[in-house]
């Protein structure tokens, strides 16, 4: 197990190093210069040069790459070119919006999807199953930004139950925050819920074919009872894996939704930073997201390996 862990850890480090290289150099070739962008069309060349020097953009790329990666190891992500505040602080601020939004969406999707999936599995082939499955087909097919537009049109503009967007701010209390995140969370949750319900259903159906389920049924339990007593626990592993994956997707995947609802989250930060060519912000945020996924994968692999020794031999 130690050998396996070390090996996976080494590969994690290599992955991170390769990712940082890729991110930095692909983003750095982007046409457009942050200093020129800041100073606009009347700027004189010497002014642009002065600003470039002030921002440290005149330092060779390789040196900047090394400084960036070294800084990240100590939690220092550098200074934003446009905002001139530490990137780490900006990211932390934005996480206070994106994290609750992702969690809210995840909670919603889980609350809808798991019962729906269980219900469909229990009624396999019957009308209820067909209805749930058709609903999930619709759910995965609806673009979330279109759904968001419709929610705003109906619930904010016509009915005026919710604000058309914006973040209430934590100083207004949890209730206000949740209220302001409700429509965005619903838009994000819909396709996720549809996927999750399908995974839940098929995981349960797989489990139901296992021997111990047949035994349970043979002992006289009804399908629903067996499902609750034995099936659910065993079906949770694939479901939890999907939930884990969805979470990291939700954190960054809100990029368009945050735009529609003008939420000051991580996605909107990246979007703004891309158009302002605030490259260091883009690089750092993308690196962080990649880091999160790679580490989660690493943890999942280790967990699986701990449970199932065969996996260790495989890789």
């Amino acid at each position: 197990m130690i050998r396996y862990t070390l090996k996976r850890f080494l590969s994690l480090c290599i992955s991170l190093a390769v990712a940082s290289l890729l991110i930095f150099f692909v983003i750095e070739i982007a046409p457009g210069d942050p200093a020129s962008f800041m100073l606009g069309i009347n700027a004189q060349p010497d002014t642009v040069a002065a600003l470039r020097a002030e921002l440290g953009l005149d330092i060779p790329k390789l040196e900047r790459y090394l400084a960036w990666t070294q800084g990240m190891l100590t939690g220092d992500f550098g200074m934003s070119y446009t905002y001139r505040t530490p990137v780490s602080q900006m990211v932390a601020d934005r996480l206070w919006v994106s994290l609750p939004l992702a969690l809210f969406a995840l909670a919603l999707s889980t609350l809808i999807a798991l019962p729906a999936g269980i219900y469909a599995a229990a009624r396999r082939g019957q009308t209820g199953d067909v209805a749930v499955m058709s609903a999930t087909q619709l759910g995965v097919a609806i673009p979330n930004f279109w759904f968001a537009m419709m929610l705003v049109l109906i619930f904010a503009i016509k009915l005026r139950w919710f604000a058309g967007g914006g973040f209430a701010g934590w100083d207004k209390g949890l209730g206000a925050v949740m209220w302001s995140l409700t429509l965005p969370a619903i838009s994000l949750a819909l396709p996720q819920a549809a996927i999750l319900a399908r995974v839940m259903r098929s995981a349960l159906l797989d489990v139901m074919n296992e021997d111990f389920m047949r035994t349970a049924r043979a002992k006289g339990l009804t399908t629903t009872q067996t499902l609750w007593k034995h099936g659910l626990r065993n079906a949770l592993i694939p479901v939890l894996t999907i939930i884990g994956l969805q979470f990291s997707f939700l954190l960054a995947g809100g990029i368009i939704i945050e735009q529609v609802f003008y939420l000051p989250g991580l996605g909107r930060l990246v979007f703004q930073a891309i158009s302002a060519r605030d490259l260091i912000v883009v690089e750092s945020v993308v690196m962080l997201l990649v880091f999160a996924v790679i580490v989660v994968n690493f943890a999942v692999d280790l967990a699986y390996a701990a449970v199932d020794p065969r996996l260790r031999a495989r890789t």
């Binding site: 020129s36 009347n42 207004k172 158009s275």
Partner: protein
């Protein structure tokens, strides 16, 4: 400091809640599309910085009024020497910065010298190019010496890039600006809002409003929803003209339609064949139906222009007739220029909807006379690099929002690359002329010259569109500069 800021935020939050109960309102939430990248008007071109801070937090020696006139600001009065080279400014007394320090001649000297220094990062450094010396005679007197007479100097000093800052607070200006204005900076939630509070120690007429929140809503749908749902009290520079009739029909709102300084033009690369041929540019001008563009892209808001000059300026000459819509004439001109079968070119469109929508319409109109246009949507950063600096474009649409900027046509290196010595001489004369009547005549000549050379396709003057709740009064209708001056704004009872 952080602790202090958060307590302030909390205090303002409480007061918002408090005022919701009463109806007497001294708070306002104003939305705009773009968020400032930082809060230093003297080191970025971003109009959003001025939109929040100009006049509200920062002031200069002179200032723009809502009607575009330039009046005294921190300078109480001034005296210009007979040769037009020496300006002596007398400053107001008792002007305090928000940190309690006094604003005096040394701050003015510091601000102007900082803007024109070698390592200056002022986006409009050219405004200060003629200054040879700034000296403080005493605490309330500043003498500025120029190398040549400049008829625009007082106008230049009114720009947001020329506001007065203090050396003591300059290091923190990007995050916590310290100015002399009627409002103090209170709090900034990046990506979301900026809050200002009233400066009770203001030297001039104090503001009526106590708390001001600027919200940043870039998405046009969200902008519409925010106003409709009354999440904001006003939206300055509303991005979707198509929604204005709905606000006009709704008694809860008022719509303000004014003008900006933005001449929206179909910029043409004068050095790139076939646009180096004046006949082709003339054909282009006649192939464009301005009214259809104003109707289609701006839903009727905007004044057609025939030259690079703001129609509300007294010196404006209406030249739209010399490039009237006439596709047959355009085809004939193209044939004369040797392009009877038309040609292909590119059209780069930056993000604003006037460009994106106007571009689609222009492409369709040019197709009618045989010019095939390939549209490329670009972001500003890309536009600056490829179009503006790289000059790698055929056509582009952009609104030149700087006030009184016809002088850009005197620079042959400017991205549309108009190189006419006669025009350059005209501009040199204009800059050296201070007599108002002579200036008007020269400006008329300049407008006619670029119009008859068909340098660019002149489309329309960009309208300034704002929506506010019916009770809001005192907002600027026009946008003589990028500003949201709230110092005179109040709620009707």
């Amino acid at each position: 400091m952080k602790h202090f800021v958060s307590r302030l935020a909390l205090a303002s939050a409480l007061s918002v809640a408090g005022f919701a109960a009463h109806a007497a309102n001294t708070d306002i939430t104003v939305a705009m599309q773009l968020e400032p990248p930082h809060l230093d008007p003297t080191s970025a071109a971003a109009g959003a910085i001025d939109s929040v801070l100009y006049s509200n937090v920062f002031e200069g020696l002179t200032r723009f009024m809502g009607d575009g006139s330039v009046v005294a600001g921190l300078a109480k009065s001034w005296d210009i020497s007979d040769d037009g080279l020496v300006y002596t400014f007398i400053l107001h007394d008792n002007v305090l910065f928000h940190d309690g320090s006094t604003m005096d001649a040394e701050d003015v000297q510091f601000s102007l010298n900082r803007a024109r220094a070698d390592d200056s990062t002022n986006a409009q450094k050219a405004l200060f190019a003629g200054i040879t010396d700034v000296s403080a005679l005493d605490a309330a007197t500043v003498v500025v010496t120029l190398d040549a007479p400049n008829g625009n100097f007082l106008f230049n000093l009114a720009w947001g890039d020329a506001i007065i800052v203090a050396p003591e607070s300059i290091d923190g200006i990007k995050q916590a600006p310290i100015g002399t204005g009627a409002f103090k900076f209170a709090n900034w939630v990046q990506g979301d809002k900026i809050e200002l509070t009233r400066n009770d120690a203001y030297w001039g007429t104090p503001a009526v409003l106590e708390n001001v929140t600027f919200k940043f809503i870039s998405d046009p749908t969200a902008a519409f929803a925010s106003v409709m749902a009354e999440d904001v009290d006003a939206f300055v520079g509303f991005p979707a003209p198509e929604n204005l009739p709905q606000f006009e029909a709704d008694p809860r709102f008022q719509v303000l339609v004014g003008s900006t300084e933005g001449e929206t033009i179909l910029s043409t690369n004068n050095k790139m064949p076939p646009f180096d041929n004046v006949k082709v540019r003339e054909a282009l001008a006649h192939a464009i139906d301005r009214q259809a563009i104003v109707d289609g892209a701006m839903f009727g808001y905007g004044t057609p222009i025939g030259t690079h000059f703001a129609p509300h300026n007294p010196a404006y000459v209406d030249l739209t007739g010399s490039s009237a819509y006439d596709p047959e004439l355009a085809k004939k001109l193209l044939a004369e220029a040797g392009f009877a079968d038309g040609f292909e070119t590119t059209l780069h469109l930056p993000p604003p909807s006037y460009a994106r929508r106007g571009g689609e319409i222009i492409a369709a109109q040019l197709a009618q006379v045989g010019i095939k246009v390939q549209i490329t949507n670009v972001e500003w950063a890309q536009w600056l690099e490829t179009v503006f600096r790289g000059k790698d474009f055929g056509l582009t649409i952009v609104s030149h929002t700087e006030p009184m900027d016809i002088g850009i046509y005197a620079n042959p290196e400017y991205y549309f690359q108009y190189d006419n010595p006669a025009f350059q001489e005209l501009m040199t004369n204009l800059n050296a002329t201070t007599d108002p009547e002579a200036r008007t005549a020269l400006m008329g000549d300049a407008q006619r010259m670029i119009s008859s050379d068909f340098v660019n396709g002149y489309l329309f003057q960009l309208a300034q569109l704002s929506v506010a709740k019916a009770g809001v009064q005192g907002l600027w209708t026009n946008a003589p500069t990028q500003a949201t001056d709230l110092t005179a704004v109040s709620w009707a009872d």
